[in-house]
Amino acid sequence: MFRNGIEGFAKKVRETQVWKSIFRHGPPTNSRNRAAVVAGNVFLHLHPIKLKKSGVQLGYTWCMGGLTFFIFLALTVTGVLLMFYYRPTAEYAFNDIIALREHVPLGIMREIHRWGAHAMVITVWLHMFRVFMTGSYKPPREFNWGIGVILLILTLLLSFTGYLLPWDQLAIWAITVGSNMAKATPFLGHGGPGAALAQIGDFVMVSDKNDVRFQLLAGRFVGEPALLRFYILHCVFIPLVVGVLIAIHFWRVRKDGGISAPL
């Protein structure tokens, strides 16, 4: 088996049916096969098959979009791990956060998640700044700029919803203050402009029991239903939407002329 050394062994492995069923093309040693690697991979096919040289120049892109994506993946992994120990109820939430530090090996897992979240907000802003300064929002990339703006808002919403989960005084009052801004939404919040117009006699159509803040918190103030709702938004709903939009974002980078080079 090892008659021809490691190379002979590797050649044999590459000739097995298992190897050939996984990799449909030869080794990426020539241009054609390298293209086949990218085009034939479900993850890589979002990526352009070929890049312009300027696309990999760090001074031009800062790799901020790539860094943001990397941090998003790191946050997904650490977040899933944290979910093993965290229970989103008023009784357990705070103690589980303490336990994640005190009773669990690698007690910095939550800190990685937290610092990663801060870092992601910073890299998203820098990425946006870079795209703006290089004029990469101009046609035909204007649609992708729009997707990016939605992703920015969703990043901030992920930070906002994650802020409540430690369930300490800072969390509860930060979300109280933050969600009270929803109260001031025009027509949809009971403290906002236009809400007073939606009143027929004594019947108030937009009240604290049916406005957007009530929908966000599942109540009139930050309580256990709000904790559960924010947990679901933070761990399931927003990451799913972000994942889909990231796929579109990358795909459009490819389709709209490649990464940030002049067209």
Partner: protein, 167 residues
């Protein structure tokens, strides 16, 4: 199959049925989306009652009383022979101020808003006085506070006879 059944529906009728079908389908989808939206608003939640009985007026002394603060979020204040039910929600961004007895003021820990014991704001970012709730006397002579009815000083509503109780 006879020739008659074959032509029982002509081209024009077919498109009429198609239109009705699409309208029905669209309406059904819209209705389901509406119900799904409504799903996010719970019918019942387990928050404290919006009205409560606050005991005998004689139980209260001049000044600020904190006995209902934790349970119902209300301070009963007695000033110049008038009882009033003061909301404990800061008018800035909704935190809960503390009553500082030594300084005779309510002070919000979030952003530093300060209120006199009658609820009027005098320092910090709060844009208006604390709100007061409807306060009435039951036939048995017990104070009743109703938090669904709000009286705002800046709208001149503190003169409303339901916003205070003469004792």
């Amino acid at each position: 199959m006879s020739k008659e059944t074959k032509t029982s529906i002509n081209r024009r009728e077919f498109f009429s049925y198609l239109t009705v079908g699409w309208i029905a389908f669209t309406a059904a989808v819209a209705g389901l989306l509406g119900l799904t939206f409504r799903f996010t608003f719970p019918n019942v939640n387990f928050e404290p009652e919006m009205d409560f009985l606050a005991g005998d007026p004689a139980d209260y002394e001049e000044g600020v009383d904190e006995r209902w603060k934790k349970k119902y979020g209300v301070w009963i204040i007695k000033l110049e022979g008038k009882l009033a039910a003061l909301s404990n929600i800061c008018t800035h961004l909704g935190c809960i101020p503390n009553w500082l007895a030594g300084e005779r003021k309510f002070k919000c820990p979030c952003h530093g808003s300060g209120f006199y014991q009658n609820g009027i704001n005098f320092e910090g970012p709060a844009p208006r006085p604390l709100e007061r709730f409807k306060i009435t006397m039951t036939p048995e002579g017990i104070i009743k506070v109703d938090k669904t009815k709000i009286f705002r000083q800046e709208k001149g509503q503190w003169d409303n006879p339901e916003s205070y109780l003469k004792v």
